[in-house]
Symmetry: C2
Subunit: 169 residues, 2 copies
């Protein structure tokens, strides 16, 4: 903690910094974030415009799509990586709009199982089809090899982040 935290940087180190003086890793993070936000904002805009639905609601329905027997709120919350309370509110809305149904779990009286209704499945299918086309068009200028390399590198980055997060623990 005490060793030279603010030493002037040598020439080689400087050469690795960008025009804005940021380290390569920081520039990478900013580019990643910008791209992610750019895509997400456009998806939100289109979901709203085309289907009058929010992204969180779409994501929740996506989690339930393949769960024929439904899922508990906790399971949805874990998969979406959001808080329990968050899911409570989203489910409330989607039950009210007729897209979801909830039942007490027969095995655990603490739990509720939620499931897409017929309306929910129908509406989600429509939205998912367009959504997939949007995404494909976003990356249309990348060839197969580039997509493959991006997948690999992002996978390695994800592993690195998980390792780094845990290091502190």
């Amino acid at each position: 903690m005490d060793d030279a935290p603010a030493l002037p940087l040598d020439a080689e180190t400087m050469a690795h910094e960008a025009e804005n003086g940021h380290k390569a890793e920081l520039r990478l993070w900013l580019r990643l974030l910008t791209l992610s936000n750019l895509i997400e904002a456009e998806i939100r805009r289109r979901l709203r415009e085309r289907f009058d639905v929010t992204l969180p609601r779409f994501d929740l329905m996506a989690q339930l799509e393949r769960a024929e027997e439904g899922m508990t709120l906790s399971e949805v919350s874990r998969r979406m990586m959001v808080s329990n309370g968050n899911v409570t509110g989203l489910v409330e809305t989607l039950v009210a709009s007729g897209h979801l149904e909830r039942h007490q779990s027969p095995k655990d009286r603490r739990s509720q199982v939620i499931r897409l209704t017929a309306l929910g499945r129908r509406d989600f299918a429509r939205m998912a089809a367009e959504h997939q086309e949007w995404i494909a068009s976003f990356f249309a200028d990348l060839d197969e090899g580039e997509i493959e390399r991006l997948m690999t590198l992002l996978g390695r980055a994800k592993a690195s982040v998980r390792r780094a997060k845990g290091d502190t623990v």
Copy 2:
């Protein structure tokens, strides 16, 4: 709209889909989003824990760091890519905490110029130093070449998305 929207997929197409039946582009988007969210959540957590500050406030201060003469709210709003009303609220908070000062613009009575105070510069410098170390550690398992390739591919992806967004207009 009428031409065969749901034709069964041929073998070659199927081969390009993943275990979960998603197209490569969709899997790429999900991986990108997951990584971005993973990093962002950890940064939010650490900023809160270490400095009791939120990410949007940190981002706003970051925008002002190099603007010796300050910036207008609109300029900040454009650079942060968030709404004007959003900036209004963040500035309110940071002025109250003594990190920002605001002045009427001498040239335009509609505009206000905001600038970091001495406290703001000092606190931001402390936070930015740690923040940069966090990011570096997150990507520590990637070598220089991998970071370089990721930067390039993300840059190409960004260009593709911008092109695709505009296509509809």
